[in-house]
């Protein structure tokens, strides 16, 4: 608690505000991952943490280290750029895999037992 370096009040306030916002967004996204019912709903929830959560915490880190070192430090932009580029690719490939698995299982179910109830999408 006491090993936080002394920085000015204004930048300390902004660091704390962005930190609280980013971590709360990441927590809400993970709670959505826990609470939502089907997989296609669950895909949407963690993107709250991967876009705004990463952006806010990186912004807080930029403000803190810029104030601490006295010059403009912005290498956290690398993480934001990388995550922003890779998250849609990841989720698109994952949802395509899930759709493929659902379709193959539906075909298997309809070929083995005709007239059976559709499989619950859980």
């Amino acid at each position: 608690m006491s090993n936080v370096a002394e920085i000015s009040a204004l930048s300390g306030f902004f660091t704390a505000a962005f930190l609280l916002l980013g971590s709360a967004l990441a927590l809400i996204g993970s709670l959505g991952l826990l609470r939502l019912r089907s997989f296609y709903e669950r895909v949407h929830a963690p993107t709250l943490g991967t876009t705004l959560g990463v952006g806010c915490i990186a912004m807080s880190s930029i403000i803190y280290f810029s104030t601490l070192s006295g010059q403009f430090v912005f290498h956290e932009v690398l993480i934001v750029l990388f995550v922003t580029v890779t998250t849609p690719i990841t989720l698109m490939v994952l949802v395509r895999a899930a759709l493929f698995r659902d379709q193959t299982e539906r075909q298997d179910a309809s070929s083995t037992s005709i007239g059976s109830s559709p499989r619950p999408r859980e």
Binding site: M1, N3, L33, I57, F65, I79, I89
Partner: protein, 92 residues
């Protein structure tokens, strides 16, 4: 004012820890394989955010590079697992 920063650092660590527990629960109890992969992706992102918070708390820029490496490994791992779910093999 630095007490505010210290308290918010602690709050951020606690809430990111709870978020990691949620993602780990989804990995362990996910009803299907794609839920587990999604939980793993979320866990990687939360670990990366936790490393950034550690970096602010300790005041060293070393944690930033660890966060970058974790983000890279998370992307590669999730895409490889999704590819495995889609095709049955990773490299064809």
């Amino acid at each position: 004012m630095n007490a505010l920063l210290a308290y918010s650092l602690t709050f951020a660590q606690i809430s990111l820890g709870i978020a990691m527990i949620c993602a780990a629960y989804r990995i362990l109890r996910g009803p299907r394989a794609q839920d587990r992969v999604l939980g793993l992706d979320t866990l990687y992102v939360n670990v990366m955010l936790m490393l950034l918070v550690f970096g602010i708390k300790s005041g060293s820029t070393l944690y930033f590079e660890m966060g970058l490496v974790v983000a890279l490994l998370g992307f590669v791992g999730t895409v490889a697992l999704a590819k495995f779910l889609l095709r049955g093999e990773v490299i064809e």
